[in-house]
């Protein structure tokens, strides 16, 4: 068994079909002009030429999920007596994310530190994460606005991926990174890839050099951002054009904040966990109606600060931004987080 593999492009559908028999496979497909991860079905047209508009984070961390259902059971003999029935939703199926980008896979590593590698792992995240195999496609060109190399990552970064693939002319070069990746790799469709290893390496270097570098180093940046915390003039200036929507956050592979709400009708209901965004007013709204982040500059400051200062301070200097550029690319007003960080460095 070779360490690496090669799959001719025409065999890709066959591979996915084979995998679909054992896994729920999600792969990027074109929906109008938008690339989205969708459940793979035979005959689906994949779109592997550019990163998906929405990273695959929702497959492991859904936009909304029912944590548990509850039901108040009333005693027919005595209406004042009620018992509570709970039903957790912890059944997860083996899943494959196919065709994520290195930045997308990196995102899950950011999540892992929060939801997995702690004493109080999140059972929902853990359940899905452990059952999910991530097959990542190295980028063969930078996308508008992306800057992964500036945040210590790269277009072929393998951290967070189980199996790496690189497009090389007529096919894909595969390299398993984990045991889970090796499992997939066992499939007989793969040819020996050792001949392509060097070619892949060169492709990675070529693309890496093309990626925009808005800032050279990030050393000292977490501290610098903290020192600007009270400088509202700086933040008001940087965020004047921000409209405080949640596009950046919801498209971000590393944003992991959530909200919990209960919805009940009649005797039964569910506890829902759903994405939340620090860009929203309601995110920090307190019951007293006081809001510590009343203004949009406080919110965007939090978003930048969290990624480039608070998270790295807590997790051994790891920047909670993978430089995918989605927040820049899709921002209604073209707010540029890399520019804000660069300005902060120079402020």
């Amino acid at each position: 068994m070779a360490d690496t593999g090669f799959l001719p492009k025409e065999n890709l559908p066959a591979l996915l079909e084979a995998l679909s028999k054992k896994f729920a496979v999600f792969a990027p497909v074109l929906d109008g002009e938008v690339v989205l991860f969708k459940r793979f079905a035979p005959g689906a047209t994949l779109c592997l030429t550019r990163p998906a508009n929405l990273p695959p984070k929702g497959i492991i961390f859904p936009q909304s999920e029912t944590l548990f259902n509850f039901n108040f059971k009333k005693d027919p003999e005595d209406p004042k007596k009620t018992s509570l029935e709970l039903k957790e939703n912890l059944d997860f199926v083996p899943t494959i994310i196919f065709g994520s980008r290195p930045c997308d896979a990196q995102g899950f590593r950011i999540y892992d530190r929060v939801y997995l590698e702690t004493d109080t792992a999140d059972p929902y995240y853990k359940g899905r994460r452990e059952k999910t195999t991530i097959i990542t496609l190295a980028c063969n060109a930078p996308s508008p606005g992306c800057f992964c190399t500036s945040v210590g990552r790269g277009p072929a970064e393998s951290d967070g991926s189980d199996l790496m693939m690189t497009e090389l002319g007529k096919g894909y070069f595969f390299e398993p990174m984990t045991e889970k990746g090796k499992e997939i790799f066992k499939d007989s469709l793969f040819e020996d890839g050792s001949a392509y290893k060097e070619q892949a390496q060169k492709a990675h270097e070529r693309v890496s050099a093309l990626v925009k570098k808005p800032f050279a180093i990030l050393e000292g940046t977490p501290e610098k951002l903290l020192s600007l915390f009270e400088n509202s003039q700086f933040w008001e200036g940087e965020t004047a054009k921000c409209i405080s929507c949640g596009a950046c956050t919801y498209l971000c592979p590393t944003c992991y904040c959530f909200n919990i709400t209960d919805e009940q009708v009649g005797n039964s209901g569910e506890r829902i966990r759903s994405w939340d965004a620090c860009m929203f007013f309601h995110f920090t709204l307190e019951a007293s109606s006081h809001n510590p982040r009343q203004n949009k500059h406080q919110r965007l400051k939090n978003r930048v600060g969290h990624k480039f200062s608070y998270y790295p301070k807590k997790y051994q200097g790891v920047i909670a931004c993978c430089g995918c550029g989605r927040c820049i690319r899709y921002c209604p007003m073209s707010v540029d987080i890399s520019e804000i960080v660069a300005h902060a460095q120079g402020a």
Binding site: V34, P144, I243, S244, G246, A247, Y250, E263, F281, P332
Partner: protein, 315 residues
């Protein structure tokens, strides 16, 4: 050069206002980004080209003090609508009008160049030339203009205090809502399936709402609140559709058809379509078009005792 005239206008207005909102170059050659400036030395950063798409009026209701703003014809309807709804004190706004025959949709350009990285953009006559890794690509501007431009009647803004350049006349046909009428030819089932598919993509990022110049509730929007509790946080089509109905109905008779909602949608949902349908109906019912006359009252906030155009419905 037109840009010099614009900069001149901004320099003249700058001392009278606290801030001027214009455009500067964004993160790549295809993207312009709003620019808030208050110092004369910042004026040189200003740009003006058909990629200056954002409706800068959207910021105005939330700004204190005196504000100068660069306004295209389509954007100017926001100013008029604010006046109708008494959301601004007109004297506090200095409108720097710019004549404009057409802007360019970044999404359409990106689709035309298959989403590649843009190295350079130039304009020549009625074309936009986009340089991508494989070389320059010339695209007729009309092919990549937003649909609003095809029927734009406001080449010169309705409201301005200073006009950069000369007033020009629109050379476009009137909007006859062809696209809306065409869509209405689909069967009910097709229409329902269409919207279910479109709304399904919605991620409730509220970019459409926050970019909307008429969505003045913003942080207090009922799409997020618990009291009143109109929607849950479930990410299903019903709740997403509910949000879009809230957005659409709250804009009934107020939507100025700037199509910012649709431009900013990261999921490419044709949200302006709903607003356009409502605008069409309200024009037909009440002869009303939002953002055209500061003395109008939006039709949902007034009535006639006898409504000549509303007939009682049979069951």
């Amino acid at each position: 050069m037109f840009i010099e005239k614009l900069k001149e206008a901004v320099r003249k207005i700058l001392p009278e206002v606290d801030v001027v909102i214009g455009y500067r170059q964004g993160f790549d050659p295809l993207h312009a980004t709003p620019y808030f400036l208050d110092k004369p030395e910042q004026v040189d950063q200003l740009i003006w080209n058909p990629l200056c798409v954002q409706n800068l009026c959207s910021y105005i209701p939330f700004l204190k003090g005196k504000v100068g703003v660069i306004v295209k014809g389509c954007d100017s309807r926001a100013i008029v609508q604010y006046m109708q709804e008494k959301l601004i004190t007109r004297e506090n706004i200095k409108v720097i009008g710019v004549p404009c025959l057409r802007v360019i949709s970044v999404k359409k350009v990106m689709a035309a160049i298959n989403q590649q990285t843009v190295q350079e953009v130039t304009f020549e006559g009625d074309n936009i030339i986009v340089k991508i890794p494989e070389g320059p690509k010339t695209i007729p501007s009309a092919d990549v203009a937003p649909r609003k431009c095809a029927t734009c009647q406001l080449a010169t803004p309705l409201q301005y205090d200073v006009l950069a350049g000369e007033a020009i006349q629109s050379n476009k046909p009137q909007d006859t809502f062809e696209e809306t009428k065409e869509f209405e030819k689909l069967s009910l089932e097709e229409r329902r399936a269409y919207w279910e598919k479109e709304f399904d993509r919605c991620i409730r990022c509220y970019a459409c709402r926050n970019a909307c110049p008429m969505c003045i509730c913003q942080d207090k929007c009922i799409a997020e609140s618990r009291d009143p509790h109109w929607t849950s946080q479930r990410a299903n089509v019903t709740e997403k559709a509910m949000f879009h109905m809230i957005h659409g109905l709250h804009l009934a008779g107020r939507c100025i058809s700037c199509e910012e909602c649709e431009r900013v949608c990261p999921m490419d949902i044709p949200v302006a379509k709903i607003k356009k349908k409502i605008s069409m109906d309200l024009k037909e019912l009440f002869g009303y078009e939002a953002g055209m006359n500061p003395d109008d009252t939006p039709p949902m906030y007034t009535f006639k005792v006898e409504e000549a155009t509303i007939e009682e419905h049979e069951i």
